[in-house]
């Protein structure tokens, strides 16, 4: 009797779940378009919207969406829509998600993926389907070596960022003893390796941590840093781990400067470390400060999202605008769009964009900046990093 009841309850629960899911489903409908504009197309955002490093993805998505909104203001509501795909930054979620992206025939371009790991997994699918992508933040150098004709990178890669960070440590901080660590991620380890090779004998010791979000107790690493006598510490990784390290270093009485890459360039670092501890930490980024973005971008972003533009928001804004300009020029198939981007020369709010044959940003347009965390936990520009 009880078994029957359990069966009924179980079946009802599953049915209710599915019914609820069905009710919540919103199938994307075809958009209404004005007759003399190229409307009804979609540009996708593919990347992390949830997860431990979600901020970086969200900043990009919001920048791109701002561009779409401004376009729709001029050309009719819902002329172009942005379709979001949340990969959670994970490379095993990425392929399935990418496949469903390419089956949607209305999607003619992708802004993203923001992380290098998921790019490795998803970009082959985009390439096979011929959907052009512009990534505003995936900096792993090897991404452009796979021969993906649709790949475009709107920022410098780690081969430029690493030396800039090393140069900052040597010339500005004038540190002679540096400790280098990373989180063994594709991005973090790659960046740290470049920094290590540039710093050479100044590196007194190294260590590795678990991936971002997977470790909270860094006491062994902290101990090593303190014992090594280093006055500067470079961490290749993302803001959560970096923040925790900074907090525990301060608690252990270490007074040196912590330096990070663009993965640490987020107020989340100060949230993790506490404003006091974070103050004075340096991060590099192959991007110019968002506050230096031209035009009304900064205030527009603040108006729409009620928060300051984050890392790469301006680059994403520009990337989306490249697509939108392409649509305006009549490139409404993925093929034509890809050809358009390959030869584009676009001046956006953050930078001017021209892509090489492998999809990299033209080297004369590369900018690397150093930023500092101030006492209130905000990131302020420090100086443009010397190109070495």
């Amino acid at each position: 009797m009880r078994q029957g009841l359990v069966r009924v309850l179980g079946g009802a629960a599953i049915l209710a779940l599915l019914a609820g899911a069905a009710a919540c489903n919103s199938k994307s409908n075809s958009t209404t378009g004005s007759s003399n504009k190229n409307c009804g197309y979609k540009i996708a955002y593919f990347g992390a919207l949830t997860g431990s490093s979600a901020n970086l993805g969200v900043n990009i998505e919001q920048g791109a969406e701002l561009a779409v909104d401004q376009y729709n203001d001029k050309n009719g509501a819902n002329c172009i829509t942005i379709q979001k795909f949340d990969s959670q930054g994970s490379p095993d979620v990425a392929p399935g998600l990418a496949r469903s992206l390419v089956t949607d025939k209305k999607i003619i371009g992708v802004v993203g993926p923001p992380f290098s790991g998921e790019s490795e997994a998803a970009d082959p699918i985009f390439s096979d389907a011929g959907i052009p992508l512009i990534t505003p933040s995936a900096t792993r150098p090897s991404l452009s070596t796979h021969g993906w004709k649709v790949f475009h990178r709107a920022v410098a890669n780690d081969d430029a960022q690493g030396p800039a960070a090393a140069a900052y440590i040597q010339n500005v901080l004038k540190a002679t003893k540096v400790f280098v660590a990373d989180d063994q991620s594709a991005y973090g380890a790659g960046l740290a390796d470049v920094v290590k090779s540039k710093l050479g004998s100044a590196v007194v010791d190294t260590d590795k941590t678990a991936a971002d979000g997977k470790q909270t107790d860094f006491s062994a690493t902290v101990q090593k840093i303190v014992a090594s006598g280093a006055t500067a510490f470079f961490y290749g990784g993302y803001y959560q781990n970096a923040g925790l390290l900074r907090k525990q270093l301060t608690a252990a009485g270490w007074k040196g400067v912590q330096v990070g890459g663009d993965g640490v360039n987020d107020p989340g670092f100060a949230k993790a470390a506490g404003n006091d501890a974070a103050a004075g930490s340096v991060v590099t980024c192959p991007c110019a400060p968002a506050s230096k973005a031209s035009g009304t971008f900064v205030s527009d972003y603040k108006t729409k999202w009620n928060t300051d533009a984050g890392t790469y928001s301006d680059v994403a804004f520009d990337a989306m605008n490249i697509f939108l300009k392409g649509i305006d020029a009549g490139n409404t198939t993925p093929d034509k769009m890809n050809t358009y981007i390959n030869s584009v020369n676009y001046s956006g709010v953050a930078n001017t964009y021209k892509f090489t044959s492998t999809g990299e940003l033209d080297s004369s347009l590369i900018k690397v900046w150093a930023f500092k965390f101030d006492a209130s936990g905000a990131v302020v520009p420090d100086q443009e990093a010397p190109k070495s």
Partner: protein
């Protein structure tokens, strides 16, 4: 293998290891007590610890303290500490009891096989940690800097901070108190009786259900205290912070001799120190592997642990 690095930081690694080990030991008490009495690995214990960390943080948040607040005066610090400890102890204790009541008691009633208990424990652990994860959006939560670390003693490059002394001292005191409780009180005798033979104890008039609840409660209390020490030391917590620590704590309990309270203390301290040495030698990314290798080695060569299993015997 970085021998010179290990040698150079030997002192600091040892002290850090002892402090970490003290937290692990307090945490391990919960495992060892429950296993000693019920022969059950309480997987959900790691979540009992984790909710304790959040309880302390939200309580401090209620008083307006967050990680960016300045350090209050000594009197206020003591006050906040006590409040935080109380909150963590209460929440952890209640969670432990809840888990026992909801997950284990129905299974005990129908004499389920041990596999069922383990699987239910996993289910409970999963449910609790994931729920907290969803509600905190899997973000970390920062801890107010109640204790400004200050070096108290200097021996060469061995710097011992006030926080470390507090943690190690507290663990020793609590262990002593618990030891006295188990060995010299009536309730303690009841626990030992149930550990030795549940049905005979019931026949001799011990209320088995109440003893079991008491054991879970004590484990929860210890976890709550460990939780507060942990957040003060690490400075942050997260929905999955219980998991790795839980594995280490269970390893420590087995290392010392499961069911043996002093074994839990010894195992915890030893494990903390050895893990730090492994981190010093091979790099931090390998330190958990150190814990597992130790565990597997003990289980293969001396399954009863260093001090022997013995909750049921007169000497705890």
């Amino acid at each position: 293998m970085n021998f010179s690095g290990l040698f150079h930081s030997f002192g600091p690694l040892t002290i850090t290891g002892l402090a970490q080990g003290a937290i692990i030991a307090l945490f391990a008490l919960g495992y060892t007590l429950v296993y000693g009495v019920l022969r059950l690995i309480n997987f959900a214990h790691s979540e009992v610890f984790m909710v304790g960390t959040f309880a302390a943080l939200y309580t401090w948040g209620f008083f307006g303290l967050d990680q960016n607040s300045p350090t209050p005066s000594l009197g206020a610090v003591i006050g906040y500490m006590l409040i935080g400890l109380a909150a963590a102890i209460v929440v952890s204790g209640i969670t432990a009891l809840l888990v026992e009541f909801v997950a284990y008691r129905p299974l005990r009633r129908r004499n389920a096989p041990p596999l069922a208990f383990l699987i239910t424990a996993i289910g409970a652990s999963l449910a609790i940690s994931s729920t907290v994860g969803v509600f905190t959006h899997q973000n970390i939560k920062g801890v107010p800097p109640l204790i400004r670390p200050a070096t108290v003693v200097h021996l060469g490059n061995w710097a011992i901070t006030n926080l470390q002394i507090l943690i190690i001292g507290l663990a020793l005191v609590l262990m002593f108190a618990l030891d006295r409780f188990i060995n010299y009180t009536r309730l303690g005798r009841g626990i030992r009786a149930v550990a030795q033979n549940p049905d005979s104890a019931a026949l001799m008039g011990v209320n088995k259900g109440r003893v079991i609840s008491l054991v879970f409660l004590i484990g929860g209390l210890m976890a709550g205290i460990a939780a507060v020490m942990y957040v003060l030391k690490i400075g942050d917590t997260k929905f999955d912070s219980g998991f790795n620590l839980g594995i280490e704590a269970f390893t420590a309990a087995v290392l010392g001799g499961i069911g043996n309270l002093r074994g839990a203390l010894l195992g915890g301290l030893l494990l903390g120190v050895v893990e730090n040495y492994v981190a010093g030698l091979f790099g931090t990314q390998w330190h958990t592997v150190g814990a597992f290798v130790i565990l597997i080695a003990i289980l293969m060569f001396r399954p009863t642990g260093l001090l022997g299993e013995s909750l049921g015997r007169a000497r705890a």
